[in-house]
Amino acid sequence: MTDLLQLVFSGLAQGTIYGLVALGFVAIFAVREIVNLVQGEYAALAGLAAISAVGAGLPLLVAIVCVIPLVVGVAVLLERMTIAPVKKMTPLTSIILTLGVSTAVKAVMLLIWGPEAKGLPNFPGSDMTLGGVSIRSQELWVLGIGALVAYAVIWFYEHTVRGKSLRACAEQPIAARLVGISPRTATVVAFAVAGFTGAVAGIVGSPIYLSSWQSGLSLGLKGFVAATLGGLTSLRVAMIGGMALGVLENLVAGYLSSGYRDAVAFVVLVLVLLFRPNGLAGKTSAVRV
């Protein structure tokens, strides 16, 4: 029983990181139908940049406050340079394009930071044991900050005029322009949100799961799988899906073999694509003409 709780708890923390990355996928796809494979790289970049900032003597909090806007800026800049110039964007084009961009970003990170993985120092706090389950204080930070960010992103998309304008842009691009919503601005805002959630994931996760030039690959893939659970359009399902995926991975690793850990995401992906290609909710269109 204690084993189970332990596996579930660490899985939730790990899954929160996937969920944050998944939010980034949805934040963009729900607006522009772009699958942005650079999503994992935002996390890796944020982790590495924060490690360098701390290494240069900045206090942790200051490093974080500097790195998040930096990564958001990079996300927006890459969008302006690589997505904006494309005239006819389809999901497939976007996959090919962003795969290329993500490879380039990885190469640049390898040049700057070298091949070895590093971790940020733990956030303040002490580890504890609760009913036999050992709880790392960093995992509590991950859960807390993850919940806060997820809540903020969902609130932004569902309750602010700006957020609603992004959704309007996705479902009726022509009508959105006619009421004055610029698709350009909407895309930039969406990428900024994605950069933000990715950066948070990379920073809060780095003390436990480490950052390296290639850590974005597996984060991106797992975040993508979590996002597909919500048909790439539901922020809630993406976040919860990420957490569920983290738990499932941990259970498989704990009870079967740790070698299967990374296979879990792909099995889930195949099952979703086979049986629920529109997401678990099986979204039905309410449109009447």
């Binding site: 309007a168 479902e171 009726q172 009508a175 959105a176 322009r177 006619l178 009421v179 004055g180 009447r288």
Partner: protein
């Protein structure tokens, strides 16, 4: 009714040609609508009516000629900016935001005026004009009937407090009673709010009843222009648009707020 203190402005289209890629669809189209006036644009399918509206609202850039909103040249202005300048386009097929509520559709209709603090005032006016929407304010727009969606599309357009409103076939596929409601709403916007209204309509009888002037288009050109009375006595127009039984089915008895359509 509330009167706005913003000076109303009209719309002027000067000799535009328009094309989709290299396929030209408009030749030398000119028109003007003054504040407090309703101009109906009629013509058969493929005559270029929708393209005229798209050229006006910035969805399509004309290859020649000018479009003026008041004194402002908007020929090369983006659709988003034109909405902000005071022109509202109610598109073909309504295009409401289906997964958002009626309320949120109105909120987004006021997107370009989101910082002026007059949302509640405009919302009241829009719901006063279309009371049916008030009961459905929290429903998803996609769950509304066709007529309600049309009303929502118009209410959404009004939320930007436009001077000029252009509408693409608002009566399409709607029951005669709903068409009456929509036409009387247009009459209200013209007479009480002083808007310049440009109406593209396949329901020629309804259009003739409410319009101050009518423009007839055929294969991308303007072929006739005049008051409804003048055009109704024109043999060619009569034969093409008013005589046939195919276009007269709706036979709308819209409340006529001006002397316009007595002979239709």
């Amino acid at each position: 009714m509330t009167t706005d203190h913003i000076p109303r402005i009209g719309l002027r289209v000067e000799a535009i040609d328009a094309a989709y890629d290299r396929l030209q669809v408009l030749w030398d189209v000119s028109l003007h609508v003054e504040p407090g006036e309703l101009l109906a644009l009629v013509g058969s399918n493929g005559a270029g009516k929708t393209t005229v509206l798209r050229s006006v609202s910035g969805l399509l850039k004309p290859v020649r000629g000018r479009v003026l909103l008041g004194d402002t040249d908007i020929t090369s202005t983006s659709a988003e900016k034109i909405a902000e300048l005071g022109l509202a386009h109610v598109p073909e097929n309504r295009l409401v935001f289906p997964s958002l509520t009626v309320e949120d559709n109105l909120v987004l209709g006021g997107y370009v005026r989101r910082r002026d603090g007059r949302y509640a005032v405009r919302r009241d006016e829009a719901l006063h004009l279309f009371p049916r929407l008030r009961d459905r304010i929290n429903l998803l727009a996609g769950a509304l009937s066709g007529g309600e969606q049309q009303m929502l599309a118009m209410a959404r357009a009004l939320m930007s407090d436009p001077s000029v409103i252009i509408l693409d076939e608002p009566s399409l596929g709607l029951a005669p009673k709903v068409v009456t409601e929509i036409m009387s709403a247009l009459g209200h916007l013209r007479d009480e709010k002083g808007l310049a209204v440009l109406l593209v309509e396949q329901n020629v009888r309804a259009a003739f009843k409410i319009a101050d002037r009518v423009l007839v288009m055929d294969r991308g050109r303007v072929v006739a222009e005049g008051t409804p009375a003048e055009l109704a006595s024109d043999e060619r127009v009569r034969a093409a648009y008013l005589g046939g039984s195919s276009t007269s089915s709706s036979g709308v008895a819209a409340p006529v707020t001006r002397s316009g359509g007595t002979s239709a």
